[in-house]
């Protein structure tokens, strides 16, 4: 490559290892829209993460609390001073339900993502690197799972698991995991397939490294680069699926935790009676969190994906020629 050090691409391409790339460079190297998308997404998502972590302090009441200080809550009162989001027809405080619901959502989705990563990434790596019959079988299984509508799959698993794991957070997370494993598997397998041909992998073979070492030390860090992007986009999708499960009554049981989808279902009949707050607030929470996560995913994609990235360039002012340079012109 000629004039390498003099082109802006190369000056800026001093990229580092993964953590630095994912968490720092998106903010330092983005321009305009991509930056705002990322920022808005992070703010929205953080809002819910904070609500989830500090739910016991933020929510005035428990998620299944119908009375405070011996006084029963009124039924279906509109937002007011004591119940800022009002109460629903089951005497619950809507604001508390929404905040506790954030905790449930983050817990379930977080767990589901971790499970999916733990299963999907190694399978993709092994399948892509080793190939052969194992690869064929895994691809077949994953493509089959992929072919099902994700909600249908989640329903089936939630139904099957409810008898064994109960209707709690773990059961919901496992049903979601089944949907997302094929996605990680696919992405990691395809990046492994191309990374497998890289010279540094051949160099590792020439060095005498075992297959496991090659996968662990040479492929892993280089094939998981696209995972953060799919991770956040999956999380957004998972929020929706979880709510849909709850809406169908298959997700988390009301006795276990507060769940937005379940609340929406209970509020279905209220809308015609003019009780808007019982459905509006959980619904809004779903929309905002899904939007936030999607924005983070898109923002990360734009900054981590080199084909979409546009780097920040500084304006140049050409100074007038100095006297020294005059020797150059004749």
């Amino acid at each position: 490559m000629t004039a390498a050090s003099s082109s802006p691409e190369d000056v800026a391409s001093k990229r580092g290892f993964l953590p630095r790339r994912v968490f720092v460079t998106p903010f330092t190297q983005t321009t305009g829209l991509a930056r705002w998308i990322l920022l808005a997404g992070v703010v929205l998502t953080l809002l819910f993460v904070v609500a989830a972590i500090f739910a016991p302090w933020i929510a005035p009441y428990g998620f299944d609390q119908k009375s405070a200080g011996g006084v029963n809550f009124p039924r279906a009162v509109p937002p007011n001073g004591t119940h800022i989001f009002g109460t629903n027809t089951q005497f619950y405080d809507v604001f508390s339900r929404v905040v506790w619901g954030a905790r449930t959502a983050i817990e379930v989705v977080g767990l589901a993502l971790v499970f999916a990563l733990i299963i999907g990434v190694p399978l993709g790596l092994v399948s892509g690197y080793l190939g052969g019959w194992l690869d064929r079988i895994l691809v077949l299984v994953n493509d089959t799972l992929f072919a099902f509508p994700s909600l249908l799959l989640a329903i089936v698993f939630a139904f099957l698991l409810s008898s064994r794991l109960g209707g709690g957070v773990i059961a919901a997370a496992v049903s979601l995991t089944v949907i997302y494993v094929p996605q990680y598997f696919r992405v990691v397998r395809s990046t492994t397939l191309s990374a497998r041909e890289a010279t540094y992998v051949e160099a590792a073979r020439a060095m005498g490294a075992r297959k496991l070492t090659i996968m662990r030390r040479y492929l892993f860090a280089n094939v998981i680069q696209s995972v953060p992007v799919i991770g956040t986009l999956n999380a957004a999708d998972a929020i929706g699926t979880l709510a849909a499960l709850g809406f169908l009554g298959l997700g988390i049981q009301p006795t276990e935790a507060s769940e937005w989808g379940y609340d929406l279902r209970r509020a279905l009949a209220d809308a015609s009676a003019g009780i808007w707050w019982t459905s509006a607030f959980p619904g809004l929470a779903i929309v905002l969190l899904v939007t936030g996560l999607t924005l983070v995913g898109e923002g990360l994609n734009e900054t981590l994906n080199p084909t979409l990235r546009r780097r920040r360039l500084r304006p140049v002012v050409l100074p007038p020629r100095s006297g020294q340079d005059s020797g150059e012109e004749s």
Binding site: M1, T2, A3, A4, S5, S6, S7, P8, E9, V11, A12, R312, L313, R314, P315, V316, V317, L318, R321, Q324, D325, S326, G327, E328, E329, S330
Partner: protein
């Protein structure tokens, strides 16, 4: 630099600067470069990677990325390209100026037959030609490039790398531009194919009246295909002149060391230039080569060297050539730290 007598040169560059903005400050990729190329003449542009060769080539065609700033003059038949608005300049690309890139594989549209490419290029730039005229002209250029007429309607993937590069050159020449910039046209090719392409480029000088800037890191190619050569270092031209003269008797230490570090069939010992080209955000003061120059004197880091003419129309900017005009103090050897072995490009 050299104002030649006679008609105006096909391409004349005066004091061209191309700077890029980065977070660390502007990169002075091309910093005050002047040269002329006559019609039918080839100027070789050599230097290490990172000296601004490619940037210069792209600047001539106005193909620079966003965030760069250019000044100086690029005169083609007396018209200053750099003063033209982008749209007019784009219209001149192809008809008045052409470019041949390094990777012929990626520069040809894989979904187009070769005949269609030529038809489109000629149709867009010379609408007055009839269909048969377009056909004949394209076929004639391809024939000169050694592409058999039987392959005329094949797709790019059906050609070998060397053939694709021939097609690229033919595409650049079919519009009979005033000048062509060829950026490392043979780097990706094999020895024999490279020799074929060099031969074609050398013959072009006779067959077409096109001025060519041939950017390469291979000094052997310059010796075989170029009339004149310009040696570029750290964004500046340090020596320019007829290729025979410059390579036969290099006057600038950089040219000399560049020739010395080239491994050729007559190499009997390995020599190299210590260090690497400087960071063009903060190039060394005065003569930019002084930190690596084995002959550096004290004056070299204080005052800018002047251009001096040598035999047979060569010119170089180096204080060694004006040593007799320096005081004893200025001519004393420059004391520097030794450059570590691994400080390299």
């Amino acid at each position: 630099m050299s104002e030649r007598s006679g008609g105006a040169p096909a391409l004349s560059v005066r004091d061209l600067r191309v700077w890029y903005g980065t977070d660390r400050g502007p990169v002075r990729a091309v910093d005050g470069v002047s040269f002329d190329i006559e019609a039918g003449q080839t100027l070789g542009l050599v230097g290490e990677s990172g000296c601004g060769k490619s940037t210069l080539g792209r600047a001539l065609l106005g193909l620079l990325p966003a965030g760069s700033k250019t000044d100086g003059e690029i005169l083609v038949d007396g018209t200053d390209l750099s003063s033209l608005p982008d749209k007019e300049r784009r219209a001149l690309r192809g008809s008045r100026m052409g470019m041949v890139f390094q990777e012929p594989m990626t520069r040809l549209n894989p979904l187009m037959r070769v005949s269609q490419m030529f038809d489109e290029a000629l149709g867009a730039n010379e609408p007055s030609l009839s269909k048969t005229e377009r056909h004949d002209r394209a076929l004639d250029v391809l024939r000169r490039m050694g592409i058999p007429p039987t392959r005329w309607s094949s797709y790019p993937h059906e050609f070998s790398g060397g053939m694709r590069q021939r097609i690229m050159i033919a595409l650049a020449l079919v519009l009979r531009p005033r000048f062509v910039v060829a950026d490392e046209p043979t780097t990706a090719l094999d020895v024999l194919v490279e020799a074929q392409i060099i031969r074609i480029l050398a013959d072009l000088r006779r067959d077409y009246d096109t001025a060519m800037l041939l950017i390469t890191h291979n000094l052997g190619i310059v010796a075989e295909a170029c009339d004149r050569v310009a040696v570029m270092y750290a964004g500046e031209i340090v020596e320019i002149g007829p290729a025979r003269e410059v390579f036969g008797q290099p006057r600038h230490p950089y040219t000399r060391d560049l020739l010395g570090s080239t491994i050729s069939l007559s190499t009997d010992g390995l020599r190299y230039i210590a260090g690497a080209p400087p960071d063009l955000v903060e190039p060394p003061p005065a003569c930019r080569f002084h930190p690596r120059c084995p002959d550096a004197m004290r004056v070299c880091q204080e005052r800018y060297p002047r251009w001096t003419s040598g035999p047979a129309d060569t010119e170089a900017a180096c204080w060694l050539l004006e040593r007799d005009q320096l005081g004893e103090d200025e001519a004393a050897p420059l004391e520097r730290e030794r450059i570590a072995d691994a400080d390299e490009a």
